[in-house]
C-alpha cells in the first residue's frame, strides 16, 4: 500500500520533469554560458577575467547607453502609469456588459498585434508628413513641421502606447479585488474624492501598480524594434548595442557582456520592485 502511494507520488512528479529538463538545457544553460562568455578574455587567452566588464564600465559611451536605456524604461513606465491608471479605473468602474467588453478588447488588442505593426503605425503618426504634423500645420499652430521621429520623445511616445496594456491589465486585476465598500465608507464619512483616492484606492492598488511597472520597465528596456525604427541611427540603447556587436561586428564576448549587464539591470529592478510588492501586499492584507 505504501509502496503504491510512493509510486503514485513519484509518477505525479514525473510530469514536471520534461519541462524542467527542457528549460535547464535550453534556457538556464545558455544563460550560464552567456555569462561565462562575457567573462572570457579578449583575444585567444584562456581563463576568466573581468576585462570585458572593465572595458564596458570604463567607457563613457557605454555608460551613457546604459543610462539612456534605464532612463527610457523609467520614463515609459511613468507615462504608462499616469495614463493607464485612469483607464484601468474606468474599466473597473464600468459595469460588466458590452461597454466593458469593448474596453477590454481595446486594451488587449494592441498587446496582441505585431510589434512591427505597432511601431510602423508610429512612423505614420510622427513623420514630418505624419498625422501630428499635418494636424498642427492645418490648424496653423506651427509653420514648419516638427521633427518627432528620430527623437528620444518619439521613442517614449511609441513605447508607451505599445507597453501600456502591460500596465493596465495588472491594475485592473488589483482593482477587481478592491472592496468598493471601503471607498463608499470613506466618502460617506465626508472624505473628499482626492483624499479617498490617495488614502484608500491608491494604496490598495499598489500591488497592481508595482506588477505593471515591473512588466513595462523590463519590456521597455529590452525592446528592440521600436527604438531602432523610431529612434534611428543616432539613438543607441542596450538591445540595439547587443545586436550590433553580435550580428554586424561578430564580437560575441562583448555582446554577451552588454547582454549580461542588461539582464542584471532588469533583474535588479524586478527584484527591487517585487520586494516592494510583497511589502505592500502584506500591508494591503492587514
Amino acid at each position: 500500500m505504501q509502496a503504491k502511494a510512493l509510486l503514485k507520488a513519484g509518477r505525479g512528479w514525473a510530469l514536471v520533469f520534461p519541462l524542467t529538463l527542457f528549460l535547464m538545457i535550453f534556457y538556464l544553460a545558455p544563460i550560464v554560458l552567456m555569462v561565462i562568455t562575457s567573462l572570457s578574455q579578449a583575444g585567444e587567452t584562456e581563463g576568466l577575467s573581468w576585462s570585458q566588464y572593465a572595458e564596458f564600465f570604463g567607457d563613457g559611451f557605454n555608460l551613457k547607453v546604459l543610462w539612456d536605456t534605464v532612463w527610457l524604461g523609467t520614463q515609459t513606465t511613468i507615462v504608462c502609469l499616469l495614463l493607464g491608471y485612469p483607464l484601468a479605473l474606468l474599466h473597473s468602474r464600468t459595469r460588466p456588459g458590452n461597454w466593458r467588453s469593448i474596453l477590454t478588447f481595446l486594451i488587449v488588442l494592441p498587446l496582441l498585434t505585431s510589434a512591427v505593426v505597432r511601431t510602423f503605425a508610429w512612423i505614420v503618426i510622427l513623420g514630418r508628413q505624419g498625422v501630428i504634423n499635418s494636424a498642427l500645420l492645418s490648424l496653423s499652430i506651427i509653420e514648419e513641421p516638427l521633427r518627432l521621429l528620430s527623437t528620444h520623445h518619439g521613442v517614449i511616445a511609441a513605447l508607451s502606447q505599445i507597453q501600456m496594456p502591460l500596465m493596465i491589465l495588472p491594475l485592473i486585476a488589483s482593482m477587481a479585488r478592491l472592496d468598493p465598500n471601503l471607498e463608499a465608507a470613506s466618502a460617506s464619512l465626508g472624505s473628499p474624492a482626492w483624499r479617498t483616492f490617495w488614502r484608500i484606492t491608491f494604496p490598495l492598488t499598489l500591488p497592481g501598480i508595482i506588477a505593471g511597472s515591473m512588466l513595462v520597465f523590463s519590456a521597455s528596456v529590452s525592446s528592440f524594434v521600436t527604438p531602432s525604427v523610431i529612434g534611428g541611427g543616432r539613438l543607441m540603447f542596450m538591445p540595439m548595442y547587443i545586436y550590433q556587436q553580435a550580428v554586424s561586428l561578430f564580437n560575441y564576448p562583448f555582446a554577451a557582456t552588454i547582454s549580461t549587464v542588461l539582464l542584471i539591470t532588469v533583474l535588479a529592478v524586478v527584484t527591487l520592485l517585487s520586494s516592494l510588492g510583497s511589502l505592500t501586499r502584506s500591508y494591503t492584507r492587514t
Partner: protein, 379 residues
C-alpha cells in the same frame, strides 16, 4: 507576481551549473556528428551539367540589398530566371557586411547561395574561405561584360551593377540643385540633413569624398570626422542602411542626403518631386559583385545561371530602365531617360564618367571608422 521568487532561482541555477556543463558537452558531441557531413556536391553537379540543353531547374537563394535592389532582383531577375531556366529564386535582403559575417560564421552551411558585395567588403573579405571561383563557362553573358567587370584574373564573380553616388534632395524645398558636398554645411540645411552609417559603402564613400574636399584622402579622413562634428546639430537622422535613408528622403524626414542615383530616380518615378545632382568633383561609382559561396545548398549550375541572368543584356536592359535605373555592366545595354540627361546613352561613357575610390586603402581603417562614426553621431 511571477517574479518575486527570482532570487531563489538564481541560487538554484548556480547549484545546477554542473548539470548544465555536463549536458552541454553531451549535446556538443551530438552536434559534431551532425555537422561533419557537408556534401561536396557542388563540383559533381557542375561536371554533369555541361552541354545539356533545356532548363536547369532547382532553387537558389540569393542576396540583394534591402530596398530597391531587393525589389528589382525579385521582380526582374527572379522572374526571368524562372521563365528561362525554371529556377525558383528566393531573395534574401541583407547588407554586405552582414553577409560576410554570416559566411565567416557558418562556412559549411552558408545561409544563401549567391552573395552580393560592394567593392569595399568584397576586397576586405577572406574570399578564399567563403567564395568559390565563378564558373565562367556556365555563363554565356559573361563575355559581353566590359573587361573591367569580369573580375580580373581570379574571377570570384562578375560585377553586376555600377551605382552612382550623388546628392539627393527634395525638389520642393530647394530651388536649384545643390552643387557640391560642401553645401551640406550651409546654414539653410539645418535640421534637414540625412546621413547613413559608415557600415555601408554609401556612408564610407561620402565620408571619404568629404575628406577629399577638405584636404584628406582615402588613407586619412580625420578632417571629415571633424567637419561632421560641425554638421551634427543640423543632421535630422542617421539611417542604418542606404535603403532606410531613401525611405527617410521619401517621407520628407530629411531633405538632403548622400544617396545612390537609382534610389532617387525610382522615387521620382513614383511621382515624388525629388532631385539628384552630381557633386562638384564627380560622382563616386560603387561596383557590386555577385559570387557563388562555398558549399552552396543550390547546385553551382543554378547559382551560376542566376548570376548569368543578372549580367544578361535581357535583365540589365530592364534593370537600367524605369523604375530601377541600375548602371549596367553588360556592353550590349542601351541607356536612356535620366542616364541620358545626367551622363550618356552609352554605358561605357557612363562608367568612365564616374570616379572610383581606392578601397584597399580605405579597408585598412574601415572597421575603426565605422565604430567611431557610430559613437560620434550618437546623441
Amino acid at each position: 507576481m511571477v517574479n518575486r521568487r527570482l532570487s531563489h532561482l538564481s541560487r538554484r541555477s548556480v547549484l545546477g551549473a554542473g548539470l548544465f556543463v555536463g549536458s552541454s558537452m553531451l549535446l556538443k558531441a551530438c552536434g559534431q556528428s551532425q555537422t561533419s557531413t557537408p556534401a561536396p556536391e557542388g563540383e559533381e553537379a557542375a561536371a554533369s551539367a555541361e552541354g545539356e540543353g533545356g532548363a536547369i531547374g532547382g532553387s537558389v537563394s540569393a542576396v540583394a540589398y534591402p530596398g530597391i535592389w531587393e525589389e528589382a532582383h525579385r521582380e526582374v531577375v527572379a522572374s526571368q530566371v524562372k521563365t528561362n531556366q525554371d529556377i525558383d529564386a528566393t531573395i534574401v535582403p541583407m547588407l554586405a557586411n552582414d553577409q560576410v559575417a554570416q559566411l565567416i560564421a557558418a562556412p559549411d552551411n552558408p545561409p544563401f547561395d549567391v552573395c552580393l558585395l560592394d567593392e569595399g567588403p568584397f576586397r576586405a573579405a577572406p574570399r578564399e574561405d567563403i567564395l568559390q571561383p565563378f564558373p565562367v563557362d556556365m555563363s554565356p553573358s559573361f563575355a559581353n561584360l566590359f573587361p573591367d567587370f569580369q573580375g580580373g584574373e581570379e574571377v570570384w564573380g562578375p560585377t553586376v551593377a555600377v551605382t552612382a553616388i550623388g546628392i539627393g534632395y527634395n525638389a520642393d524645398r530647394y530651388e536649384s540643385a545643390p552643387a557640391a558636398w560642401e553645401e551640406f554645411w550651409n546654414p539653410e540645411n539645418a535640421g534637414r540633413i540625412g546621413l547613413v552609417t559608415m557600415n555601408s559603402s554609401l556612408g564610407t564613400a561620402f565620408m571619404v569624398e568629404v575628406a577629399k574636399r577638405f584636404g584628406g584622402s582615402e588613407a586619412d579622413i580625420e578632417v571629415a570626422f571633424e567637419r561632421i562634428q560641425e554638421l551634427l546639430p543640423n543632421v535630422a537622422a542617421v539611417a542604418p542602411s542606404p535603403g532606410a535613408l531613401a525611405t527617410l528622403l521619401q517621407q520628407g524626414e530629411v531633405d538632403i542626403a548622400p544617396v545612390y542615383m537609382n534610389a532617387v530616380l525610382s522615387l521620382q518615378d513614383a511621382g515624388l518631386n525629388m532631385g539628384w545632382a552630381i557633386p562638384e568633383g564627380g560622382s563616386v561609382g560603387i561596383r557590386a559583385t555577385m559570387s557563388i559561396v562555398k558549399n552552396p545548398q543550390a547546385s553551382v549550375e543554378a547559382a551560376a545561371a542566376y548570376i548569368d541572368t543578372v549580367i544578361s543584356a535581357e535583365a540589365q536592359n530592364v534593370l537600367a530602365a524605369s523604375p530601377y535605373f541600375f548602371g549596367p555592366t553588360n556592353s550590349e545595354v542601351q541607356l536612356s531617360g535620366p542616364f541620358e540627361e545626367l551622363f550618356s546613352t552609352d554605358p561605357q561613357d557612363f562608367i568612365s564618367q564616374l570616379i572610383y575610390l581606392d578601397w584597399d586603402t580605405i579597408n585598412l581603417n574601415r572597421p575603426e571608422w565605422i565604430e567611431r562614426f557610430n559613437r560620434e553621431v550618437a546623441v
